[in-house]
């Protein structure tokens, strides 16, 4: 009896040891851990895969949402956090974090109006805000008809579809509405989730896309890649220069190129409602958060190596997935910040 028990004990012990050994980092190679925003997840995942093929370094990115990413990096359970909404310089300094932009994307209004195909409907900033405020409630409202001469608009009720979950996409979208409409700014405001004056909420980009496809007369907003992949009908938007533009990589780039990153403290820059003839008005960058004071030089170096690789070799991948890579001028600003601010025991880590 005793012998049997001893044997069992040994088996358990061996099993436990095996488990520990197999998960120890020394045998598995270097793994970088990151968590955060869902919006850039497809491109981060693709980069991680290619980078792993190139270098053997693994990247484990959990797309748990920007809020979760910020919480995890603050708790130091990950090597980097990712957020669609940038943190303000004061928040960064308080937490000792460095923030830099990684990719740019666009948020696109998508519609389901019987008889109206993609890129035909024109909306001005005021009209878009009034629709989301619930002040314009039918598609043949005078304000929409006036902007769209020649377009046959049905007498269908408008159903606004918004994100039910807190989201960086909502943060970018409400940033735009707050800039162009004082009424929006004072009633709903600018945040990752707001008190929507009207409409129904879908979970995730996919949820909003599904609702817009199912509900006749719906208008929602999704991240550009989702609009393309789900073949949703997008609308044109009037930008600050008064021109109606379509959402494309080119118009996102136009919006990004006019931005003055050098003057943005902690790279806090919101790319909505930018000047320029061709600028898409609802553009936003996605950000990475790392600690300025790193514990281990090698690990810090590995993390920065990865992002450096993305900046240098990741452009094609990003564009294939409908994201806009960062302009080279911004990349050199970012790497300058790495050199100056990321340190291990007072000594710079990069390059």
């Amino acid at each position: 009896m005793d012998k049997k028990r001893n044997n069992l004990f040994h088996i358990i012990l061996i099993a436990l040891t095996a488990l520990l050994v197999s998960t120890s980092p020394a045998l598995a190679g270097v793994t970088i851990n990151g968590a955060g925003a869902t919006f850039p997840y497809p491109v981060y995942a693709q980069w991680a895969w290619l980078y792993n093929k190139d270098t053997g370094v693994k990247l484990n990115y959990q797309s748990i949402g920007s809020g979760g990413g910020i919480r995890q990096i603050k708790a130091k359970t990950v090597d980097f956090g990712a957020s669609d909404a940038p943190l303000q310089a004061a928040q960064l300094n308080e937490a000792g974090l460095l923030q830099f932009p990684m990719v740019i994307g666009g948020v696109v209004p998508v519609i389901n109006v019987p008889g109206v195909t993609a890129g035909k409907l024109k909306l001005s900033a005021t009209t878009l805000a009034d629709i989301f405020l619930g002040k314009i409630s039918a598609w043949n409202d005078a304000a929409i008809v006036k902007e769209n001469p020649g377009l046959v608009l049905p007498d269908t009720a408008i159903t606004v579809v918004h994100r039910a979950d807190g989201s960086g996409t909502t943060w970018i979208f409400t940033s735009y509405l707050s800039k162009v409409s004082a009424e929006w700014r004072n009633s709903a405001g600018h945040a990752k989730s707001v008190k929507w004056p009207t409409g129904v909420g879908g979970k995730g980009n996919a949820g909003v896309a599904a609702y817009v496809q199912r509900i006749k007369g719906a208008i929602g907003y999704v991240e550009y890649a989702y609009a393309l992949q789900n073949k949703l009908n997008y609308s044109l938007l009037q930008n600050q220069a008064g021109k109606y533009v379509a959402p494309t990589i080119a118009t996102f780039q136009a919006a990004a190129s006019n931005a003055d990153w050098a003057k943005a403290d902690g790279f806090y820059l919101v790319l909505t409602d930018q000047p320029g003839q061709d600028s898409w008005p609802i553009t936003g960058a996605s950000f990475i958060l790392v600690y300025k004071e790193q514990a281990k030089a090698e690990m810090a170096k590995e993390v920065l190596n990865f992002f450096d690789w993305c900046y240098r070799k990741g452009d094609e991948t990003a564009e294939k997935l409908d994201y806009v890579p960062m302009p080279k001028s911004v990349v050199s600003l970012v790497e300058k910040a790495w050199r100056e601010q990321i340190k291990v025991a007072g000594k710079p880590v990069w390059p």
Binding site: D165, S193, G199, R214
Partner: protein
């Protein structure tokens, strides 16, 4: 060996079971404690008003639970109103009327339904059921009951009604299969004697089977209720996720569980997070109250029907 097996294990066994029982109490206690600690900032800020405020405004940090509590209760009520009678009828059919082959087949199918993950119900609800509701059921309801505020508003499919019906479908298998087992335990002799005295099938069901199994049936209903009230994924998909109370069942609403599922990941602000945890606490409270009602009701029915047995 022979002598060893005669050692009295009773004390050890008693301690083991006692520890198990205490562990449950400890678990419930610590969940409650964690919820209260986590919700403290919101509890302090909003007080009892949290329960009566409809405002849910993360941008301006105003939080109230009323619409979520309302949505939880209404969607569950719709679900139970549909599921309970339907389950009873199905269970009675399976036990009393169906030929054994049919009974086995349908019984198996129902158990299969119970094993479907809730996200499947949610996706089916969103992609198949909600459009059907929007195109066929909702316009019909509005035309049948014009002026009834319950059935007004644009027919968009998703909303409180869709959530209630999906919940009904989800709890139906649970209630049905437990109820069926309960009815099957009614002794044949009792039923046969009732038939022997010239009772019809309806009379046997009404006067013998139902009273005999009523306690089990009530228990089954509360099991279903427990599932419905905390159901998260399926409801999130079809309820429409709107923080507002509307008289119409066509309108979008929300439930406590759906709000938590939607907003927890991005709640980086402390007060926002606390408000969400307080919502969890409220759900905990609601479940507790329902448990007490269930106990009280079971005891009451047991006493009332004591004479019948």
């Amino acid at each position: 060996m022979q002598t060893k097996s005669h050692i009295n294990f009773d004390p050890a066994f008693r301690w083991l079971t006692l520890a198990g029982g205490l562990a449950i109490l400890f678990l419930v206690g610590s969940i409650c404690y964690t919820l209260i600690i986590g919700a403290m900032p919101a509890l302090k800020k909003f007080g009892i008003g949290f329960l009566f405020s409809q405002s849910w405004d993360p941008a301006f940090k105003e939080f109230g639970a009323l619409s979520s509590v309302y949505g939880t209760l209404v969607s569950t009520a719709i679900g139970m109103l549909i599921a309970v009678p339907l389950s009873l009828v199905i269970a009675l059919f399976l036990v009393e009327l169906a030929p054994p082959a049919v009974s086995r087949l349908v019984g198996g199918a129902i158990e299969l339904l119970a094993a479907i993950p809730s996200i499947i119900y949610g996706m089916w609800g969103l992609f198949v059921f909600a459009p059907f509701l929007a195109d066929h059921v909702q316009p019909w309801l509005t035309s049948v009951a014009p002026g009834l505020p319950l059935f007004q508003g644009p027919p968009i499919g998703i909303g409180m009604l869709a959530a209630g019906i999906i919940l009904a479908l989800m709890v139906l298998p649970f209630i049905t299969s437990v109820t069926r087992d309960v009815f099957q335990m009614v002794p044949e002799v009792v039923k046969e004697s009732a038939y022997g005295m010239g009772s019809t099938t309806w009379e046997v069901t009404r006067k013998v089977t139902l009273p005999y199994g009523i306690q089990g049936v009530v228990g089954a209903c509360f099991l279903g209720l427990g599932r419905a009230i905390g159901e998260t994924m399926a409801v999130t998909f079809v309820i429409g996720n709107r923080h507002e109370i509307s008289a119409s069942l066509f309108a979008a609403g929300n439930s406590i569980a759906s709000t938590l599922a939607n907003e927890f990941t991005e709640a980086s602000d402390d007060l926002y997070l606390a408000a969400l945890i307080e919502l969890g606490l409220v759900l905990f409270g609601i479940t507790l109250v329902i448990q007490f009602i269930a106990r009280w009701w079971l005891r009451r029915t047991a006493r009332k029907l004591g004479a019948v047995r």
